[in-house]
Amino acid sequence: MSAGRIFLDNAAGAPLHPDAAALIAELHREGIGNPNGGHAEARRARAVLDAARASLAEDFDVEPRTITFTSTASEALALALASELQSGGTLITSAGEHRGARALAAAHEASGGRVALLPLDASGRWSAEALQELLTATRADGVPPVMLLALASGEVGAVQPSLTAVNRDSVAAVLDGVQLDGAREMRFADTGATHLALSSAKVGGPFGVAGLISADPRRIRALVPGGGQERGRRGGTEAVVLAAAYALAHRLHRRSYAASVAASESAARAFDAALGAPGEIGLISTGPDPRTAQSGRLPGHRSFAADWVLGDDLVAALDHAGVAASTGSACISGSREASEALLAMGLSRTHAAGGLRLTFGGGATADDAARAAAALRAVAERIRQHAGVTAR
């Protein structure tokens, strides 16, 4: 990051932990290569991979064999879903899911499958009762449904209800734990997941590696066939160095998460205080109210919507003012699509196309927060003075 810039897009990818960066360099220097071979060099690589898997397993309190390394969490979700969804089965999901999950649901629908959407309340949460109703309704189909849900919304920061309270018999739950993993000490068993997708880059690890924890990994049907790597669950040579860096970053994050979560939330509160009422600059807060919903909202996560500018344009203006922010929904800039999640939460189409997300990291200071608030105020005021040219 350049000096003077304020990085508030940690939900999209936290900065690489220096120890993980050092490990990557060290392992590359050592010459870690293909772990699938009959020689000492391969065994050394295999040992690094095994250690990474074991370390992550310990973090989530699972057996190492339940972890499948993938390249991204989107791939992990796709792998789990392809393994669980039967033809004719209903996919239970919500409009508030990550783009990757929404695309999987769309693909299921396009291939003739049914998709049942859990309604979202105004803060972006779905309810256990509504899920229970959907489970009961879809069970009558004869073909078991599959749930595809995130434990927390990356877009509006809403932490979702626990599945443990839901009576679901043998219905498979494919859960996206990416955002919540950064915020909570998470045990696999506590999530109620059949499969849990995770990501390295959200906890200070490198991009390009992610993981899937499966209650019964024998259920996994490989999307990419190969030479038996990952016990036949995912073909192709494993990214050993990235997996090792991921495991290290996750362990370090676990060790310090309480402090880093506290620091990020404290910076976010400093931001709230410096910004004042969002309404004064034409913004509405989205997601659970950060003042009252401490445990219902991801720490360090703030989200807003404007009806006088496209989210992408607001992000561009903030970028120019030295603040790295996000719309929270679009993966590719230049789209003017309204956010499905914000629409499902009852926002107008213009508000839903004007999303803004600021996610503070553990290293954010109160000064960063104050400067970010000042930048947002200045940018909003300037844009609103030109409402005539930016209105849609």
Binding site: V309, D312, D313, A316, V379, R382, I383, V389, T390, R392
Partner: protein
């Protein structure tokens, strides 16, 4: 001085006017990067002149998403990639700005409506006036505090010596001059537009791109209308519900000589694709959308010395009623300007009386009027009263 007193085709600038310098004091400029060589070099020149440059690629429509390859269009995702790489090489910020709604309102819808009403539209004019030097200029100011918008157009600006008025001035490279498409810029837009390539030739521009190692240096020229990637605007009309009902082709005496598949598929001056066999070539001379009839005639019957214009503007606004000016009229891009007299009518209408005939003045097309190198007014060729 009034434009009424100007003589046409006098070389250089009118008395009391000076060339507007492109490189003034350092300022924050938004450059519309298309992903082509011209806008890349425009950005490079501004950076080298010490300006603070913000690169923006405009997402204007989704038509190009469906067409892959072809580095000819400015509106594909490949073009956005090239623009991003150029911005990275120049170390300037780069953003994608979505102007689909503005483009649809100012360019796409009028384009379709124009064809359906028997005209031949000039979509680039509307895009320049309303999108690039309209909405984009507004966004540049609102989002980034930019005081000006620069493009890779080949054009120059002239300024009245007291700074109180602005005109477009033809580019040094007369082959590349694009002032025809820029005629709709008003005084405010002209004051805040920057054309860094106005003094350069195309070959110089490519050489600058090569010497700076820009990835766009050898990209081919874009020729087609960017939102009609396959070059056939009729497919766009069909998407918009045009069914192309068969109609009559008549000759100038009114006799039916053939049938066509929808009058919106024709342009005045068109020769190919009429499907009528005659001893000498026949051209579309009139299009009547109300009767779905097209008229064809011999080449000479498309010559006109008097043309009715509408929406005629100078940078200060609509051409005043009763004003009269001598200027040379260009009825198509790269067309040879023909001297004549322009007489202002009601509400921006005007009568253009030319010293020599022009051929195939198509309703809907732009007419740009020059006094020497200076563009003094511009408007659209009106439909004949009978076809309105």
């Amino acid at each position: 001085m009034s434009i009424n007193t100007l003589n046409s085709r006098t070389a250089g600038l009118p008395e009391g006017w000076v060339a507007a310098p492109e490189a003034t004091a350092p300022e924050r400029v938004l450059v519309a990067l298309s992903g082509g060589v011209d806008s890349s070099v425009a950005a490079a020149l501004l950076v080298e002149a010490g300006h603070e440059v913000v690169g923006v690629w405009m997402r204007l429509h989704s038509a190009a998403d469906r067409v892959d390859g072809g580095r000819k269009s400015c509106c594909t995702l490949d073009a956005a990639d090239d623009a991003r790489r150029v911005a990275d090489a120049l170390k300037i910020p780069f953003h994608i700005s979505n102007l689909e709604q503005e483009f649809a309102d100012a360019v796409l819808e009028p384009f379709v409506a124009s064809y359906l009403s028997g005209e031949t539209p000039s979509p680039c004019v509307g895009c320049n006036t309303a999108v690039k030097f309209g909405a984009l200029m507004g966004r540049g100011e609102a989002l980034f505090g930019c005081s000006a918008v620069a493009t890779g157009h080949y054009a120059r600006r002239a300024m009245r010596a007291d700074g109180g008025a602005w005109r477009l001035r033809a580019a040094v490279d007369t082959e590349k001059d694009q002032t025809y498409f820029l005629h709709g810029l008003d005084a405010e837009a002209l004051a805040r537009s920057r054309f860094p390539l106005g003094e350069r030739t195309k070959e110089e521009v490519r050489e600058i791109a090569r010497s700076r190692g820009l990835v766009t240096a050898e990209k081919p020229e874009s020729q087609e209308i960017c939102f009609v990637p396959d070059g056939d605007y009729r497919s766009l009309l069909r998407e918009r519900g045009w069914s192309g009902a068969a109609g009559e082709i008549i000759d100038e005496s009114g006799g039916v000589v053939g049938v066509h598949a929808g009058s919106a598929g024709f342009t005045v001056g068109q020769r190919r694709g009429i499907g009528v066999v005659a001893a000498t070539p026949r051209y579309v001379s009139a299009i009547d959308p109300t009767t779905n009839r097209i008229t064809i005639g011999r080449r000479e019957s498309l010559e006109r010395r008097e043309i009715t214009l509408e929406e005629v503007r100078t940078p200060e606004g609509l051409l005043p009623l009763g004003s009269e000016l001598r200027a040379a009229a260009r009825i198509r891009h790269r067309g040879e300007p023909v001297p004549g007299r322009l007489i202002g009518g009601v509400n921006g209408a005007a009568q253009l009386i030319l010293d020599a005939p022009v051929w195939a003045a198509s309703p809907g097309q732009t007419v740009a009027l020059y006094d020497g190198e200076t563009l003094v007014a511009g408007g659209r060729i009106a439909r004949p009263a009978a076809a309105r």
